[in-house]
Symmetry: C2
Subunit: 431 residues, 2 copies
């Protein structure tokens, strides 16, 4: 039995853990997302949780949030490569495609739903371990723009039908980085900084953006006016009258129009062109996506991504353009959970609790349970012939909707109290 010294465990900050009734809904979410991804022909890839530190830092940026693995007791003479937990699924994808290049068929469409880790300081609302759900399409040399339009369609279908998300107002906001980059050309000699400032418009507001573009990027008032007109209004209408100031800008305008038109079968509010969207990463070269709660835009993007020209240049001498998008699964799930919007109902996947009114009914109970399972039902057996009231209360506590009396072959609906004769071979619950 229990020892004297008890170490009372507590939650570890930033590492979410759920009770079975919440985990059950989390699993439904993951199943749903996977189902939609597969319905568009994306194959599953999982990579190890670790990469060599040299791979994670091949781009030259070594992030202080990286968790490195150390053996608790290091042995001497160990010359293994240093391993670190991946902090996203993009670096592993690039490494995977480069490493297995000759064994993959292109366009390569993969989804990846795994945990990633970031060594953030413990603080409320910040996860140090969380799940991302990514899709990417990679091709060699060039990739049709149709794929850029497929992404928002998939994400809209995924997010709008997640259990508990049905009434949430969400919107995909899309842009094309070429438009702003083209527009800024010749207007400042610090385009990356100007993009970073514009990217913050939702957080810091238009006035502050105006001020910073002048102060930090030396853009004159007239040009700031042009920029602010572009990023401050519904981009799709702006586009109608906009004149491209160069080839890059023209290309971006054409691309975003094409993508938006391809999405005309989605509800009007699903996708909005918003030319202020640029995404922080320089990595993106064309279409960019963000997804917000329209009544809580300050919460930030729950699903982001974009088009890139060069997936894996640091690992392989091939031009590999692609487009991808990532759902910040854990953060989104935690938000809905906190707001009490998840359909949390039961602690068990069982549809039926097989009762044991008396010990001598055990064989009959086992047989009925096995028959029900063969017909697709999930059945938990009660293995102790306790008072019936206790057994029923157990079913109720676990949220098991039906109980079965093996002696009489009767089934009781826990919600309505209705009890009827039933054959385990043919029984189906009424919906």
């Amino acid at each position: 039995m229990s020892s004297n010294k008890v170490y009372k465990p507590k939650p570890v900050s930033g590492f979410p853990e759920y009770l079975p009734e919440v985990r059950l809904v989390e699993q439904q979410w993951l199943d749903h997302i996977r189902r939609v991804f597969e319905s568009y022909g994306f194959c599953s890839v999982e990579t190890p949780s670790v990469e060599e530190l040299d791979v994670l830092s091949a781009k030259g940026e070594v992030d202080k949030e990286i968790y490195v693995l150390e053996r608790l007791h290091k042995e001497e003479g160990g010359k293994d490569a240093r391993l670190a937990l991946h902090f996203d699924q993009t670096v592993p994808l690039a490494r995977y495609v480069a490493q297995h290049f000759n064994d993959l068929t292109f366009p390569f469409k993969r989804y990846q739903m795994q945990r990633v880790w970031r060594g953030e300081r413990p603080q409320a609302g910040r996860f140090r371990e969380f799940t991302q759900c990514d899709i990417d399409v990679i091709n060699v040399d060039s990739l049709p723009l149709h794929f850029d339009a497929e992404m928002p369609a998939i994400i809209w279908e995924t997010l709008s039908s997640l259990p508990g998300m049905e009434n949430e107002k969400i919107q995909l906001r899309i842009s094309n980085r070429k438009i702003l980059i083209g527009l800024l050309e010749g207007k400042t000699n610090n385009i990356p900084e100007a993009l970073r400032i514009i990217d913050k418009i939702e957080k810091i507001g238009k006035d502050e953006v105006t001020k910073l573009l002048s102060k930090d990027c030396a853009i004159d008032d007239e040009n700031i006016k042009i920029i602010m007109n572009l990023v401050g209004h519904d981009g799709y209408y702006i586009l109608q009258d906009l004149t491209a100031s160069n080839e890059m800008m023209a290309q971006g305008m054409e691309e975003i129009k094409f993508v938006k038109e391809q999405l005309s079968n989605l509800p009007e509010e699903a996708v909005k062109v918003d030319l202020s969207i640029v995404r922080g990463l320089d990595y993106y070269t064309g279409t960019v996506y963000e997804t917000v709660f329209t009544d809580d835009p300050g919460y930030g993007s729950i699903c982001s991504g974009g088009r890139y020209d060069d997936l894996a240049g640091q690992y392989i001498n091939k031009a590999l353009p692609g487009v991808g998008i990532s759902i910040g699964f854990s953060r989104l799930f935690a938000k809905l959970l906190e707001q009490g919007k998840l359909p949390i109902a039961r602690k068990s996947p069982a549809d039926v609790l097989m009762l044991l009114p008396a010990d001598d009914q055990h064989d009959k109970a086992t047989e009925a349970a096995q028959t029900l399972r063969k017909n697709g039902h999930n059945v938990e057996m009660y293995h102790k012939a306790q008072k019936l009231q206790k057994q029923l209360s157990y079913a109720e506590k676990k949220g098991i909707p039906y109980v079965w009396f093996p002696g009489d072959g009767e089934v009781k609906d826990m919600a309505t109290g209705e009890q009827v004769k039933a054959d385990p071979q043919s029984w189906t619950p009424h919906e």
Copy 2:
């Protein structure tokens, strides 16, 4: 495009990674296992990948195989608890049950299918990251013996119907530690050592076990004969004529007989009583399980577990007996893969490739694809109006069984070459 300095990535020893066609079967395995577990009413639990080092080492044994996390750039003054990757799912289960005790309903039946990590030296056939599939039932104070019989039934159902495992000869071997412990009482003053020696009988053979029991445990020849008679033959027949030498032994005999009788509906060869099974861990107190390939017993157990009296005594002052079993998923999957026994057939989950014979058919193609998806099919779209031969060859390479001609509304079976008119609203592939 690609930079000049290319870091060519290589596999990391001990961290398996699969191509999409293999991953697809791995996912089928995981789905199948989960389906069987849920059909017996086990709920899903996932715990963080890490535990506090104090939790992992609460039993006093600090394993040198533990991977500790370190931030790449440590900041000063950090006083976080040290975190380490879990090396199994039993310690996390114990911690979980203790921590959430008041929120769980008992008997608590949970399954857990996650990755675990062990910092082994890199060597062939040894994984440093691998997936385990565990089920456990925990109760407060006492737990009916029926659960001990449920475990082998579930495992047999799971393993014998995994895709690719259908023709493998496997067998669950069960025993009850009380029998050997009872028998050894008074015959040696080092029972744990005697158990460890007997546990190795499959590896080192009967002669060596006989020698070691005499040499290391000072058991006399007559008693060694009695022991070897017990562990060297089919345990169930041995049990019929065996006389218990004390209460513990009698109890163990009664329990194993009960468990074996409860399993009479399984095929004769599925479960064998083998009194030499003891399992290494002192943790187990009654029924113990191992699972072997009967034509390759030296490969070791692919699924093991047993009954324990005290799940979480180091974290909570409660008597929590349980019984559980764990499938060594990654090792089993890798074995079948290596032997070429997995049904590897396709690189994509798509049932249908929607062709694009000409650009002006794109809208029609999108519409047909969307209708097929709504009817449960997985459909990948070909987004470039290339030569038909190229599109068909792409479907073939990815193993997509059907291609759809959106213009004529025809579908072609890639295996038979048969091409017929079809309505996306009502089409079903013939099996």
